[in-house]
Subunit: 284 residues, 2 copies
Amino acid sequence: MRQAHECGCDLVVFTECALTAFFPHWYMEDEDEIDSYFERGLPSDATRPLFEEAARLNIGFYLGFAELAFVDGRKRRFNSSVLVGGDGRIVGKFRKIHLPGHEDHRPGNPFQNLEKRYFDVGDLGFPTWNAFGGVVGMCICNDRRWPETYRVLGLRGAEMVLVGYNTPYHIPEHPEMDRLADFHHQLSLQSGAYQNGCWVVAVAKAGVEEGVSQIGKTSIIAPSGEIAAESRSLDDELVVCRCDLDATTAYKQGVLNFAGNRRIEHYGPITSQSGASAPGGTEK
Amino acid sequence: MRQAHECGCDLVVFTECALTAFFPHWYMEDEDEIDSYFERGLPSDATRPLFEEAARLNIGFYLGFAELAFVDGRKRRFNSSVLVGGDGRIVGKFRKIHLPGHEDHRPGNPFQNLEKRYFDVGDLGFPTWNAFGGVVGMCICNDRRWPETYRVLGLRGAEMVLVGYNTPYHIPEHPEMDRLADFHHQLSLQSGAYQNGCWVVAVAKAGVEEGVSQIGKTSIIAPSGEIAAESRSLDDELVVCRCDLDATTAYKQGVLNFAGNRRIEHYGPITSQSGASAPGGTEK
């Protein structure tokens, strides 16, 4: 954050679950052990210095963290992020919607991907906020592979989408796709940016963590879909980019402007069915 | 078609409005003149030889054409395509949903883009059909830039999406985007393929037609999102690719499987609003 401040940045994006190791990679049964990875609220005693330093530097940030919350009196666990303004106050919160992986222990795999076990599906939808001189939205990791994520945010005016992610190079169930990890990552970001005329800032926990190799490719994507900046290593690295929010206008008002072109009467299945159905459709 | 047959193809994709010059590039007021570009039905006397040759060679095809139809007694004009089986019979029809361009004459522009003037919005949705040993869907040109197109087709099981397109290099309203024409084209196809685990076969009317330079980049995209084959010129060219429909399975059942991951309760705005709204969303 201090380094970013020296570079003139007014917003820093940290990654998914930035405060802990990415514990969904291993299997736990003990509830207390699981809970130990979760925050009860932000800022806490341990995290307050980050918020205070942000206010001191007048620099905002996105922070991914594991969140333990009580919703209607029931303990819930979310994979969350907060957007914090340059005054150190929380602008908004997001809870990850698209949880990857599995619920069951798979001891034959080199590591687990137990997000479906440890986290509940986010219950806050995809909000956007007026912040940093524009309209900002958030998502987390696997959310970025789903065009619905960017579209809902785009329909709420997002000019910049912030994404933290932890993505292993190896998919134990589909090793033949490992070689495509970087490509699939950037393809998702680039199409989401272009098709919604927004900046996408995606930040990785990169390198080897607890034996799991993570992709890097922290990427800042322009509303054109072009890669404006990206990381050059799998080490700690600050990627700086000047993001002109006015560059969204030509895309939002041009060929892909929503109001003049979207035909919601033909999009029904997108919100009426989660899984695929048999071939069919209107006949005439 | 004969050349494709010699190469062992069982399906040929022709482009959008393949039977005429792309007349939305010029302004017309005379109804009869406009109608002269439209087919009243397929096969007609003029097009029957194509259907008969298809049956003789046992080769199917996608054909884009301008369609004049009477719907509920009213004359309508659509930008349509048909899918024809190896027996020369029509499997299904599609009518373009996302019409680009404008309705008004813009005499200051080097050419017009009057699809919104000459065509009605398609009224058949995005159907899919069991054909060619798999599940096939269609769309036309600008439809390919909208993730909703692929998603509705994907939700109806599409393993292959066929697209004909006529795309000028120059966007008179946004000349600064001209340099990105090929990139935006392929980005849309590649993300649609990857995010829905399907093949996308996109075929261009390329080169200069009536003074308008069209992009080429006929592209066949694998379910991985990779470019499996593409054209190498702006001339007449047959691009051949063996498309293994079983290659869709790992994607449809893997990380991006719909039933286990899509969260339609959070996608509401996609079908409830066409245009963008103010920032907002669930607050908690």
